[in-house]
């Protein structure tokens, strides 16, 4: 042990003096490092083993919640999908459901089905993007190219429905903004079937690959009790053996009319956490096919809304299952066209709390495998 360093003058804010230990080294992973995303993980290592990890999010905080207080219920829509542009339908879903409660409008049956299809397509788009990143950080460059390419199939489909490739701004209180194009059912079915065939091929090259299994199995194990105690959600929770999916537990729109299955794995390691989203994509394809079959062939798509709708004096909390887990939106209304307070409860931030527990005792080389398996999206966590 070296002598303790005593600062002679007051340190500027944010800086701290650390006692130098000859065994423990502090390492900043990020915020510029591509392996961390827009966040920093302060890792303390002893040789090659992590003794302590401290995630430090907040680098892309954009104040979406505060901005929502000065905008009306409609102009909030393009802003509130910015936290996760790749999953923009699902992050907007709880807000739209909440505003419908506050304004008090009914949604046409056909619009509900279109919303479910758009949300499931968006979930697949998000998971493909995440899978591409997960692949490349494990050094598997084919697994970067394949999902990034196959994702285009669904992006083209979303572009046909909504007119935008990534930020759709498609859901609106009262339904959706435009009807699906002509012969959409056939095009969607064809592309989703091909997409499903493609993602089934990932099993051979990635999920059954012994190299991946050696890298991810038994790393970052989260037990069932810890997963519940830490309040994790989505794929992290289901990988630890808890059967919890809001599409079944609290069905919104028409999920109660569809046959939805959840995928649960018991092991709770990085491998299980990376496999659950892939199984979710296969399930999403099933849901889309069912919704296309049951969707009313014609009918209204949007209930007309007054130009500047006022919410009643109330507060409402709605949540949906997004690509990463439960995404909630709490809106407090004071009878004005703008929300008084809007709070997003996002799954990325809830899953991040598990990271220090998972990294303790792991090798530093396994850090990307554990960190990315949390299905974490830094921009969403910061809002």
């Amino acid at each position: 042990m070296t002598e303790q360093v005593i600062p002679t003058k007051k340190m500027p804010p944010g800086l701290q003096v650390e006692n130098v230990d000859d065994r423990i080294m502090t390492l900043n992973v990020g915020p510029q490092h591509p392996g961390s995303g827009h966040m920093r993980i302060i890792v303390k290592i002893d040789g090659d083993y992590i003794v302590d990890a401290d995630p430090d999010p907040g680098y892309v905080h954009r104040g979406e919640e505060k901005m929502a207080e000065s905008r009306n219920y409609i102009t909030n829509i393009p802003h509130l999908e910015r936290p996760v542009i790749h999953d923009s339908c699902n992050i907007l879903y709880p807000y739209v459901l909440g505003v419908e409660d506050l304004v008090g409008i009914e949604v046409p049956e056909r619009a509900k089905y279109v919303r479910v299809i758009a949300a499931e397509l968006n979930r697949c788009i998000y998971i493909q993007y995440w899978l591409a990143i997960y692949g490349i950080f494990l050094g598997h460059s084919t697994m970067f190219m394949w999902p990034a390419g196959d994702r285009e199939l669904l992006i083209d489909l979303m572009e046909k429905i909504t007119g935008a490739r990534v930020t759709h701004a498609y859901f609106i209180p009262g339904g959706v903004r435009n009807d699906v194009p002509a012969n959409f059912e056939d095009v969607c079915l064809r592309q989703v079937n091909y997409f499903e065939k493609r993602i089934k091929e990932y099993a051979d090259i990635f999920y059954d690959n012994p190299i991946l299994k050696a890298r991810t199995e038994d790393t970052g194990v989260l037990s069932r009790e810890d997963a519940i105690r830490l309040g994790t959600t989505g794929s992290v929770l289901r990988a630890s053996g808890v059967d919890y999916d809001l599409r079944i537990k609290e069905p919104y729109d028409v999920y109660d009319e569809l046959d939805v299955h959840t995928n649960v794995l018991k092991s709770g390691d990085s491998y299980a956490r990376s496999k659950i989203p892939w199984l979710d994509m296969l399930e999403s394809c099933n849901i889309i096919r069912q919704a296309l079959e049951k969707m009313p062939k014609s009918g209204s798509i949007r209930t007309k809304l007054k130009p500047n709708p006022k919410g009643r004096e109330d507060e409402v909390y709605r949540r949906v299952e997004s690509g990463r887990g439960s995404a909630g939106c709490h809106i407090i209304s004071r009878g004005k066209p703008e929300p008084y307070r809007l709070k997003l409860s996002v799954s990325s931030f809830r899953n991040l709390i598990a990271l220090p527990y998972l990294l303790k005792g792991e090798k530093l080389g396994n850090m990307p495998a554990v960190y990315w398996s949390l299905n974490y999206w830094p921009v969403e966590a910061d809002r």
Binding site: T75, P78, E159, G163, A169, V180
Partner: protein, 165 residues
């Protein structure tokens, strides 16, 4: 499954793709075909018509200078400014029309939803790059021009995989 078999299966899965057609859209030569002529809105039914949300199309003979598009954009991107136009139109007493700054526009289409006079649509034109910031500001005269687009490439799915042709 043994380690060796697993690795061979994984390699085999990749090698099979040598026979699969290339999926990549070769962009400047090929351009993807979109649904319809762009995103449009029908104020009578209150429902929009599906289409790409690209560069706007302004119909001078319909625009009344009511500023509703500009108000709709205020909370989103503040990309629309109302400017004076030289020509006189009967329905447009103040002779003001929207000018759109594509450096700010997020292509959400809420301005199109706000227009009650069928004056503002969005077109299939998405190639808006410019060397200067001023070049991204489109005046009402520029927005009037119908874009020339050659988009004919479609997605083909057959036994040998998906490709653009």
């Amino acid at each position: 499954m043994g380690t060796a078999t697993g690795i061979i299966k994984a390699l085999n899965s990749g090698i099979k793709h040598l026979a699969v057609k290339r999926f990549t859209l070769r962009y400047p030569e090929q351009k993807l075909k979109f649904v319809g002529d762009g995103y449009q809105f029908d104020p009578a039914s209150g429902v929009a018509i599906a289409g790409l949300k690209g560069r706007h199309m302004l119909f001078h003979d319909h625009c009344t200078g009511c500023q509703l598009c500009s108000i709709a954009c205020e909370g989103v991107a503040e990309a629309i400014a109302m400017v004076k136009v030289p020509d006189k139109w009967g329905q447009n007493a103040k002779s003001i029309m929207p000018q759109i700054d594509y450096g700010k526009c997020v292509f959400c289409g809420l301005c199109v939803d706000a227009c009650p006079f069928y004056a503002l649509y969005m077109s299939n034109d998405y190639e808006l790059s410019s060397f200067t910031k001023e070049g991204l500001i489109y005046t009402p005269a520029q927005l009037q021009v119908k874009p020339q687009v050659q988009q004919d490439s479609e997605l083909i799915i057959d036994k040998r995989g998906a490709r653009h042709g």
